[in-house]
Subunit: 699 residues, 2 copies
Amino acid sequence: MDEIMSSKKNILTAVMAAAALTLSMDRVYSDEGMWLYDDPPLEILKAKYNYSPSAEWLEHLQKASVRFNNGGSGSFVSADGLVISNHHVGAGALEKLSTEENNIFANGFYARTSAEELRCHDLELNVLMSIEDVTDQVNAVIRPGMSSEEAFKARREIMAKIEAESLEKTGLRSDVVTLFQGGKYSLYRYKRYTDVRLVFAPESLIASFGGDTDNFEYPRYDLDISIFRVYENDKPAKIEHYLTWNMKGVAENDLIFMSGNPGSTSRLITMAELKSDRDLVLPHTLQRLNRLEVLYSVWAARSKENSRRAKQSILGIQNARKAFGGHFTGLLDPSLIAKKEAEEKALKEAIAASSEYKDTLKAFDQIAQIEKDAAESYLPYRIWEGAQAFNSSYFGFARTLLRNADEKSKPSGERLREFRDSNKVSLELRLFSEAPIYEDFEILRLTDSLKFAIEQLGYNDPLVQRVLAGKSPEARAFELVKETQIKTAERRKAIYAMSPVEIQKLNDPMIEVARVVDGAARQLRKVGEQQAELTKQAHDKIAKARFALMKEHSYPDATFTLRLSYGQVKGYEEAGQAIPFQTDLKGMYAHAEDHDYEGDFDLPESWKKPLKALDLNTPCNFVSTADIIGGNSGSPVVNRAGEFVGIVFDGNIQSLVGEYVYTDVQARSTSINCQFIIEALNKVYGAEDLAKEILNGRR
Amino acid sequence: MDEIMSSKKNILTAVMAAAALTLSMDRVYSDEGMWLYDDPPLEILKAKYNYSPSAEWLEHLQKASVRFNNGGSGSFVSADGLVISNHHVGAGALEKLSTEENNIFANGFYARTSAEELRCHDLELNVLMSIEDVTDQVNAVIRPGMSSEEAFKARREIMAKIEAESLEKTGLRSDVVTLFQGGKYSLYRYKRYTDVRLVFAPESLIASFGGDTDNFEYPRYDLDISIFRVYENDKPAKIEHYLTWNMKGVAENDLIFMSGNPGSTSRLITMAELKSDRDLVLPHTLQRLNRLEVLYSVWAARSKENSRRAKQSILGIQNARKAFGGHFTGLLDPSLIAKKEAEEKALKEAIAASSEYKDTLKAFDQIAQIEKDAAESYLPYRIWEGAQAFNSSYFGFARTLLRNADEKSKPSGERLREFRDSNKVSLELRLFSEAPIYEDFEILRLTDSLKFAIEQLGYNDPLVQRVLAGKSPEARAFELVKETQIKTAERRKAIYAMSPVEIQKLNDPMIEVARVVDGAARQLRKVGEQQAELTKQAHDKIAKARFALMKEHSYPDATFTLRLSYGQVKGYEEAGQAIPFQTDLKGMYAHAEDHDYEGDFDLPESWKKPLKALDLNTPCNFVSTADIIGGNSGSPVVNRAGEFVGIVFDGNIQSLVGEYVYTDVQARSTSINCQFIIEALNKVYGAEDLAKEILNGRR
């Protein structure tokens, strides 16, 4: 009797909760969502904004969107291959093009002629050409009774097969993407550009004005842009889908769209997974970031050249530290946890009340068990397979060369996934890059990461001891970096062609240390892959139950694939103050003044010399409710007409919990206004030709 | 038969090892040692330098030496109470005297008249007046069969009794000091000065020229000094023992002495203890320092005023990070470990071979077992009793007030040691200090330290949960800091007088959170004290065996009590380059120039304006082989005649392993030349009167 009552009560609660959710979805749509291009939120846009984008509108935006494979987004802005993105997205490429004499990253760059455009060392851009649902094909290979190892292998094989066939057929980069944590599989086909040349970059001071202090803050005033051109056959590529600019920019409450590649979110994970983030992943990650930030900053302070060599890495670390810090803060907020717990409870109760999906409850327990198992090998996994013991570019090359030799003789579908045929071009682009590597910085990083391994796993860990080979971390790092032969692309190409036996005969210390850990690293990876496979199977079930029972139109967690976000240009209130939706150049100069033009609040000389023609009312940056996250950096912002009005480059501090939940009370994404860009090109940088090309859509 | 052979071999090895050690001690004396004033290395000084300081020479230097109770050293340099130390030793006092409008720490200070001298908030100086060996008296209370708890209590009681009787009899601050890790107990009696006034400080830029980059590096060019005056009855104190200056300074190979208070070394610890440092203590400490360095630096970058408020703490953290980093590097050097292992092996073999001390071998195992036990509660101990969860000045007050109420009704010998009668003056000086506390900085620190506790002990740790009280770390820190009543010295005085019941009625949230953890914290402390007691007993045995068997004249590990070091002024070789023993002002300007006068390599305006009279050949800093460590900062350097020739302020990076072993190949201590000080006072700061007082030894 008690049991019946209690189960009845559960059903009621579940139904009520589901109803409440559905009700709220019916009534008040938020601007949440990083939507799939093959499943856009048409009904919400219609209901909330009375807006119905056409298929052509969507296709145009999709194909004008560009993925920066190093972790960002961008868009085509001329028929002659011009791509605009953030400075901080292009920064890696800028740094690799810089030298002690010519610090392009810091001082900026402008190619007045095609001949002056600088080819990037290893930048790969992708344009999404098509999406195909291959869920059934992928899941068909998983049969009941398969071990997790068999299932993982079968899935890896079918994914590689689909990719290889697609590449063969279309010549396009073909990736099978796992969506909804395993609830859906889609084949994404990309046009790939590997000849990417730098056209324009402002000085880093104005690109990241306010530095780490203002990062993830608002109001901001940053010209965080860089402009590239893609080439094919040594000529500027001809682009059909590029965005035209609307120099009117944005007004408050405007509906806007962002099209880019959010890297990763964790909104659909279970409470068990969320607690792993809170208790294990984030503390470990933040601890490592703090130590690296100190290490690199201290080293950078020693000289201008050290600073130049480390600057990129420091910016990346600071950005990650602030972002992950925001995630951690979110997970320590009892109200966020309560919200996530209530959501999971409602879903579980709905599942329990359903005859069809009742069995899915077990999936939550399975995930909890996997998290528990995975926690035990988390540290060794991060240190060895994650290579946290080897913070060294040379080590990355060494491992790739070592593993490639072992993998290349296998069929593509049986290799470690990064060695599959369809990834060959991208892998070789990085491996044979001529980008400079600085040995002093390598030694610093490797010494410290060896110490990190000692601290995390213990000095007497047998593998740690084998890696150290009886030496101090300093001495060992020094000899590994100094004595490895893999320093030139030419030499790496030669080794890349070698057999395992030939490589062993080289007796290269860096390759040999990669070999020392490779057995353990591969074993950890294998276990991790099996755990991931089981997690996917469980999430597949949960996703199916959620679709069926919760009746929401939803979007998968971010996967660094193209998504469409939408929202309104909108200010907000903070500590009783109204924060305006947009800043302007007057504000920029005032902000510099407030900080005595010191440190990160200094402006480059180009902005300090008398600029009479400069319109101080030019808008700089604006905020909106559109739902984005890291990886979206550089995404174009377009209006209802699909016209370019800005580029996303940041979110405010309140948006950082977006990793786990969307909120629009104060959370905002921050974008650069299109007018700011043109004003700067014309009045500050004398880049009128470039501005003209952008505004005309062609040279 | 085998057994006999092997034990015979052991004896032989031990005898040979002991002989080898003795032999090497006979032949080549190094400049190692932080010697006790009641047991100076007379025979070594005689043998190596043909120098025999008289009893008067020693007494004069001892009584001219001043301990800065916040963790440094200094010396009297005039009969009218002038005390000179490092800027970084005085920095805490300088910061407390600074305001947003008048940043004395950064901009410097000079009191041209007595009336202008600024009284420090809570600075206590001590002068060692006498030393008395009380080992037998202390050990007499420990009887066989006592539990570690009984033994600890008995020892605490007798120490408090000796101190109380001495205080009663002499009126002097009386501390029983534990030496040789428990091998010896001495009663140190100090004259105490609590009215200390600031006379002079240079700008922080020149005091720590080169900043964190040059800290623990050489060559250096730092005017790291601050000058105070001690008062009694509102008048400058009359000082009998003060140092006279010798403006000739130092020459290479000069024998010099340093007299100061090295804080702590770990040279006599066993391998088991050393491994605890390597595997547990140092990784934890460095992790925390890295996070604090990032936290404070990021906050400081937001505004000038933030920077002023956090600067002191940042400098302290950076110094500690570099020092502990050096210790860790040392312990990861296989050659250092091999040396320590060989020493312990030789000692153990000598012990095993001796009929009288054979039993002492067990002491090593006991210590190993205690280390193992202590490791288990290390984290909770640091978090709760070490208050790492509460990085807040208000929390410090709250705990003191809470515990004081409980402790004051007990006899002095039964109280937690910091509440013993003989410590009352020092405790109240700090508790009732009017030094400013900044609530924004308090909230920042407390929020982060609550997160640190979560990360270290886990979110679901019951005590962590009780401390958080259902709130986020941000919200909890905010309410604790905002709502506590203990913000003024007046209020703290009132609460200090209250009974436990009255305090409970206050319902002060900061005191209440101190109460929440106090049960656990006290229990952890009790266990820790018992472990420490057992360790002392074991070390007492080892020390006795070492004295008897190894026949070395030796010195105890540093204990922040007065020690005498000696050595030679001497350059060294690094990477094939000869590093000169001394730098000069020419070098200082060249060093600034090399770094474009940027950041920490900028010089204050006072040094940049045309200073025609300045002698650029004036020596700045010099290095010597004398054996010092943190706490020695500010120690006077004197020549054979006992005349002041400089002040120690640093050691080079190679000296950092001095925590565990002395070396003189490259390791050097770094001092400020006396001529640099006088040149600066006369030519840069217009402080001719002060220079005159110093050179004349009176006003």
